[in-house]
């Protein structure tokens, strides 16, 4: 029952009734070249006494198979990386929004208030003096907690990115690596994307505005956060983005298909970026 070699047998062939594990494997990995009246065949073969017993077993097994497949797929490390980077972004956004709110509120009572984490930390450590102060101090301590959580998640992202995609992480850093994988939907999906797509990942709005006509084509998407793009003169950023995305595409493929770390691509990229940046000086 391999996928290359479909048979004319149902998922229950060779499965003992009640052996959920074997049934789950057959449903996940099996295949058939023809559609047949499986309930009737199952009753004929003795897998079930009647059709209603067959459907009962089918229900139990398909639910178990789907649940297991979901756990396996979501337990895959690149999927965990995607969840982590999204949680990181959420925590950061919440902390920023709350900081502004608290600073604005505190500013109405305290002329010294500033919109920064230093002030929030001071506020969180303060002894509240009245009911309003109590809320302010409580909110501030939650912001401090969120920022601590951001640090914890960032550490997790760094570890996971390193093990999921060592070449990408070496070239792009753990956060950008995680973002690229998240935008593509997984490492395998990223590895199948052409460099030109990776170059504009995260700039979909601009890209489709361009495809509809009128707007200029975007030069870069989320890879803008990379120093090689941002640190290059605006006129040459398109070239830098193209060079970087080309090497990122190669890195993603090595990470997905081999998983070994190969420092030489990074060196090639460095050389290429230096040449692009030298154009200005000449």
């Amino acid at each position: 029952m391999s996928e290359d070699n479909p048979t004319d047998q149902g998922w229950f062939a060779g499965v003992e009734p009640g052996d959920i594990d074997a049934g789950v494997t057959a449903i996940q990995e099996g295949s058939a070249s023809t559609v047949q009246d499986w309930p009737a065949r199952a009753v004929e073969s003795g897998f079930a006494a009647d059709e209603s017993e067959y459907y009962e077993r089918l229900h139990e097994t398909t639910v178990a198979a789907s649940r297991r497949a979901v756990t396996q797929r979501e337990g895959a490390d690149d999927q965990q990386l995607i969840h982590s980077i999204r949680a990181l972004d959420d925590c950061q956004r919440l902390a920023n929004e709350l900081t502004e709110r608290v600073a604005e509120w505190a500013g109405s009572r305290d002329s010294e208030a500033t919109v920064d984490s230093e002030y929030i930390e001071k506020l969180a450590a303060r002894e509240p003096t009245d009911p309003i102060d109590e809320r302010l101090v409580s909110l501030a301590s939650r912001i401090v907690g969120l920022r601590r959580e951001v640090q914890e998640i960032r550490t997790l992202v760094e570890q996971t990115a390193q093990s999921v995609a060592p070449n990408l992480t070496a070239m792009a850093g753990p956060e950008l690596t995680a973002r690229l994988i998240a935008l593509a939907g997984g490492l395998a999906e990223l590895a199948r994307k052409p460099a030109g797509t990776i170059q504009v990942l995260g700039a979909e709005d601009a890209l489709f505005a361009h495809l509809r006509g009128g707007a200029p084509s975007p030069k870069h998407g989320v890879i803008f956060t990379h120093e090689y793009v941002r640190g290059t003169a605006p006129a040459d950023r398109g070239s830098a983005a193209r060079a970087l995305s080309g090497k990122l595409a190669i890195a993603a493929r090595i990470d997905h298909y081999s998983g070994e770390y190969r420092p030489e691509i990074e060196a090639e990229l460095e050389e290429r970026i230096e040449r692009i940046r030298a154009r200005d000086e000449s």
């Binding site: 998922w11 449903i27 295949s31 058939a32 023809t34 559609v35 499986w38 459907y55 398909t62 797929r73």
Partner: protein, 208 residues
């Protein structure tokens, strides 16, 4: 034409609309064991609301392609017989498993509708295929899955123009997809699903 047995127009929470009997799934309003089948969340409900003959009834065996979190397929399983729900993405499948647990006639399958041989060892011949897959190649999916449809069965399909090509005119996309389907099916009904679902075409077809 009347509604299938098991689907009724009922007033729930002061609004009249379609409803089926079953365990609530997505926070829909309920009353006396009936739960609202929300047209803005289900393309099949739009067609049923227009009294389009879909072939859905208490005896029908159903293959549902693109079941997502199970919003529509839960109503289908409330009404129909054995219902096979194919969904490709793990995240919605997590919800779909929960929906299936409370419905003994609903069988969830984490499979790709583009490769039917990977579930042909599980799915039996069916009376009704409901297809709502948001991927490129929706016509090809309908053709590839025709093998599951009985000779007197029906295909009910929601074509999503944006999944084929976001930059093209939806009507051109619909024509292309219909042309692909017509190789294997007779088209019985087509109409837009506005205002409930933008840029979607509802199609009912029978196998040739």
């Amino acid at each position: 034409m009347s509604l299938p047995e098991g689907v009724q127009r009922r007033e729930i929470d002061g609004d009249e609309g379609l409803a089926t009997r079953g365990e609530p799934v997505y926070g829909e309003p309920t009353e006396d064991g009936w739960r609202r089948w929300d047209r803005s969340r289900s393309k099949l409900a739009v067609l049923l609301g227009r009294d389009v003959e879909t072939g859905l009834n208490a005896e029908s065996t159903v293959l549902y392609l693109g079941a997502a979190s199970g919003t529509t397929v839960s109503h289908v399983a409330d009404v129909a017989g054995p219902t096979y729900a194919v969904e490709f993405a793990p995240r919605p499948m997590r919800d779909l498993v929960g929906v299936a647990e409370a419905r003994p006639n609903l069988f969830p399958l984490l499979k790709d509708a583009r490769t039917p041989e990977r579930y042909a060892h599980v799915v039996e011949p069916v009376d009704l295929i409901v297809q709502d897959v948001a991927i490129r190649g929706q016509g090809e999916v309908a053709v590839a899955n025709k093998q599951f449809l009985r000779a007197d069965g029906r295909l009910v399909l929601a074509i999503k123009a944006r999944s084929e090509d976001v930059t093209r005119d939806p009507d051109e996309v619909f024509d292309d997809v219909l042309e692909t389907i017509e190789a294997e099916y007779e088209i019985r009904y087509t109409d837009g699903l506005e205002p409930f679902h933008e840029d979607h075409l509802g199609v009912v077809a029978e196998p040739k």
